[in-house]
Amino acid sequence: MNTPSTVTGASAQITRDWADQIPCLGIYKPRQLLKRCGPLLIGIALDRDSSNDKYRPTFHVHCLCIKKGYLTLSLLRYPDEILNTLPRYIHMRDHANQYREVASAMAAHSPLPLSRNLTLVEVLEAYDEYLETPGGIFAALSHYHEMILLAAVFGESDIATSILNRCLAQVAHSKFRFFGGREEFVSLMISQIEAPSAIHEIVEHEASTLKVDCLPQSALHLS
């Protein structure tokens, strides 16, 4: 790889390099490799810092069940299996030497398999595992929110309600400020659990807003 001189050129180059290593993901934007799996986007973000001289590759998902209009980094993981053996950040000067090894390791140890269809159970288990980590505990509310809607969009209201109850038991009251309060969150969730078709509409609206039609696709099955 020739190291491009511009920031934009460098971003495009490292994105292409990574895409070559993980062909089941498509290039969504520079530094963002994704595929669509039903109501989820799954992929790897090559998140840079302000200096632009290094980037951190991280696995993540984005749940299309929530109206946002921008890409979020849920289930943000740098797999534990490689956390202590490979660099957390890749400096641009080391990119050519390191990206292949890191990319293949990340694809092999991805919290969700990247190359096949998934089941709702697999996805919810991945969320549960993440919720046991410090990062998951820190961002628990947004992850419970996504779990509830993922179960609800499949019409699994019992599972969704169960997750809602776990959420209320484990998340501090102050964290619900993004929803206007705890009671408002509960009301919103109950109304959405009862209306899976409305969540389907949100999924398609978000997919259209984020322009994800060009991405590789696989299915998310109930079981």
């Binding site: 530094r31 963002q32 973000a45 998140d47 840079r48 810092d49 302000s50 200096s51 946002k68 921008y70 890409l71 979020t72 980094l73 849920s74 943000l76 534990d80 956390l83 202590n84 660099p87 957390r88 950040y89 980590t133 410090p134 990062g135 505990i137 820190f138 961002a139 509310l141 947004s142 102050s174 964290k175 400020r177 993004f178």
Partner: protein, 279 residues
């Protein structure tokens, strides 16, 4: 995660070089004792032998070579056996240590042999000496291995900095770096360099000594983590996910404004925001 604190980051242990106690760890260590001992051996044994002229060594050269060879073989054999008995050494390293010790032992045996000693006698004496020295070497290595493990455990149990104190120390170091960044920089450019230095230092620390749940330069929007540069997002200098705390570095004259605090709390799940300024 948090193996360096036995899974409990709230206990605030810190084995890194930022800790002044690190210097104490190496004072009087096994390594220093080893090298001090080797220096003594050279002064008391090797140097006098060299000084006693080549004339002494010359007639014993065949004995030295024979003793070293036999000692090496015998020492390697004994070292393999002993090394395999200790998880901290292993058969391969045991063979190497035993073999080297045996070579030295056998060679010394040949060196100290009486005039007229046959090569066969030197092989026999060298093999015996090599086996003994190989055993001593392999046992010594095992002892050092056990000692090192004990040292490591002792180091891990030494209380040092909390995450907040670590971030403060990083800010202190970024503050003292200002002179090296040059006097011709604008305050804004200098602040950027100091932020970047602090971020890199924190990442290097965690890469080397384990994740403490401190994330540098993290972007949020409406409670969600987002990629750098997402329109409308805010960026936190250092996020401590173990305590829901955001640390905002301030290297210039301005301080942390109430607006900035409100902005961080509006967009990220943190509960508290701290200004961190070099002390």
């Amino acid at each position: 995660m948090y193996r360096y604190v036995s899974g409990n980051p709230l206990r605030y242990w810190d084995p890194f070089g930022l800790c002044p106690l690190e210097a104490i760890r190496y004072n009087g260590s096994a390594e220093q004792a080893y090298f001090e001992g080797m220096r003594g051996i050279r002064q008391d044994l090797v140097d006098p032998l060299v000084d006693n002229s080549i004339e002494y060594v010359k007639p014993r050269l065949d004995n030295i070579v024979a003793g070293a060879g036999a000692g090496g073989v015998a020492g390697a054999g004994v070292g393999t056996t002993i090394g395999a008995m200790f998880a901290g050494v292993g058969a391969g390293p045991g063979a190497l240590i035993g073999g080297l010790s045996g070579i030295v032992g056998g060679a010394i045996e040949g060196l100290l042999s009486e005039p007229g000693t046959t090569v066969e006698e030197s092989i026999r004496d060298g093999a015996i000496a090599g086996a003994i020295d190989g055993a001593i070497g392999a046992f010594g290595s095992a002892y050092r291995s056990v000692g090192k493990a004990a040292d490591t455990v002792a180091d891990l149990s030494r209380p040092v900095r909390s995450n907040a104190e670590l971030v403060q120390e990083v800010a202190n170091r970024a503050g003292t770096r200002a002179e090296r960044f040059g006097n011709n920089l604008s305050p804004a450019a200098l602040g950027t360099k100091q932020h970047r230095y602090a971020s890199n230092l924190l990442e290097r620390y965690q890469t080397r000594y384990g994740d403490r749940g401190l994330m540098s330069e993290v972007s949020f929007l409406n409670g969600d983590k987002v990629v750098y540069g997402t329109p409308g997002s805010i960026r936190i200098d250092v996020l401590d996910i173990t305590s829901d705390t955001a640390f905002d570095f301030k290297f210039g004259a301005s301080g942390l404004s109430p607006t900035r605090v409100a902005n961080i709390r509006q967009h990220s799940p943190v509960e508290s925001v701290w200004e961190i300024r070099p002390e």
